[in-house]
């Protein structure tokens, strides 16, 4: 079992990163920490994707010296997926940061529990 973990250390690292990020996003009260957790979680997924695409002993998928055999190159699709995922992740982070700024300006704290208590004091309904 341990040998299996060592052999697949990239996948193991990806799963650990995902778990750390997921729990931070779910359980932390501070909005910025939650955001960092989200980015760690996404990084874990991207690492898993990248490790899936990489095949030891093969080269980047750019034709060199006229070699066209598929077996000579690594799988390029996961790299494309990682790039798309990074774009999505950056966009979501930007939106979340802007929301955090808006909440901070109104409640002067980034603690979600405190913000919730403060907001309950506001008018309940229209």
């Amino acid at each position: 079992m341990i040998a299996g973990f060592v052999e697949h250390y990239e996948e193991m690292a990806a799963v650990i990163l995902f778990a750390v990020g997921f729990s931070t996003l779910l359980f932390h009260k501070n909005l910025i920490r939650k955001l960092i957790g989200m980015n760690i979680m996404d990084t874990g997924t991207f690492l898993l994707l990248a490790s899936m695409g990489y095949i030891r002993g093969r080269k980047a998928p750019i034709i060199e010296n006229g070699v066209q055999e598929v077996s000579a190159y690594i799988n390029p699709i996961p790299a494309g997926l990682v790039l798309t995922g990074i774009v999505v992740s950056v966009s979501v982070t930007a939106v979340m940061l802007s929301l955090s700024v808006r909440l901070y300006r109104r409640y002067h704290t980034l603690d979600l529990d405190r913000i919730y208590i403060l907001s309950r004091h506001e008018e309940e309904d229209r």
Binding site: L48, M96, E122, E124, R126
Partner: protein
Amino acid sequence: MSMIWNFPLFTVVLSLFSGVLCMMLPGRAARNYTIAYESVLIGLVSCVLGYTLRTGQEFTYPMGEFPAPWGNEIRAGVLESMIALLFLVILLCSILAGYHFIRKDMDESKQNLYFSLLNLMTAALMAMTWTNDIFTGYVFLEILTLTSCGILIVREIGRTTLAAVRYMIMNLLGSGMFLMGVVLLYDLSGHLLMVPMRQSIASLASDPSSIPAISLAVGILTIGLGIKSGMFPFHFWMPDTYGWATPASGSVLSAIVSKGYLLLLFKVYVRAIGIHVLQQTPILKILFVLGICGMIVGSVSAIRASAINRMIAFSSAAQIGYIYMGIGLGTTAGFEAALFQVFAHAVTKSLLFLTTPYLAEASGESLKFSALQGSGHRDPLAGLFFSVGALSMIGIPVFAGFSAKLMFAQAAVMTERSWEILVVMSALAVSCTLNALYFIRTMIRIYSESDVTGKRGFRRLKFDRSRAGHIVAGCLLTAVNVFLGLYSWRISDLIYRGLGMYL
């Protein structure tokens, strides 16, 4: 290749273009443009539906002429066309009926941005409906999340920002899990296109030792979409999100956005995994249990709610539970019932979300039950539309809700598993009783004589131009609701044909 084959792609490209265009238009022009272009999209999708019904088969549109498994694909069949049509009709009704409140809730200079976001949301929904590629589904799922958050925070009060943050956090958790599920499925199958993925997964599943790996991948993906669609026990973000949004946004989020995620789940289950493989995993049984828990817990929470918007939001959680129960039955009839419930719930809930603000407007802008007493007299049209929605939710014959519940009962009987029949029938009975409890209580309240305002009896119906949109949307949604109730067999036949194209 017929010209109609291009129409699904047109719906996505036109929506993206309209999103940019609306940023440059003034508020009212953006609204009028959005109504016109949504109508054009309804025409295009109706052509696709007519074409697929006439030819009796779906069509595949290879993007950039690259064939499978290398290129990206759009697939259009009866089911996709019907759901795209449903989404567009509800979007149109939400704009028509909700514009009165959009004007109240946001500055004139920002209204164009709201319509811009709605158009980008339409692009995301259309892409998720038509795509045959699971990763494209993920990308547009994130765009849907971002635009949903945008239409939620346009009401610039503290609670909407907090609701948007909570909504985003839950959705980000869901997206992360969905992406992880997609990556694991890609790792197992080597494909991102749904049909080649299903073939690969089917051959993998022939070896029982690979079932745990498939279950893990599909389970993670299911939890992700479950969080996003409001499945029990991840439904607690719904009351704040739906309750604090401007009415058009509440209607769109509750009736369409959650259904977009559910549609993606259906597509992954039926098209990318296959029902036979799913039946070998424990996922369907878990969904069945969670669905039933959602039906009961959602309704109990709705009974305890002190404001009408929160009651309707919790009721949504209960109705989503019905859908997961149908999926959990794991049969074609269960899937059919769940898909019919998607239609019934979308039509009814948008009617309720678009109507209650008018009742509140007639009650001093308060959504609390105590203030709503007699509001059905003060605003008879809103009272009528609310009653239609409420009766449909309870499951009174003639309305869509009854047909959906009947289909669930029939699907349970068709499983021929006595314990499932017993559990489904009991859950339906309890849930209907609870629904009746809080919806009839609300109807009694809105039609009681108000002691607070001293206004008694019905007001005479007067035509007010600002109400025209609400009247048109309300009548349209009521007509669709009654059609779904009276001619459910027609819709279920179409769903059956659509599912047949999937298999």
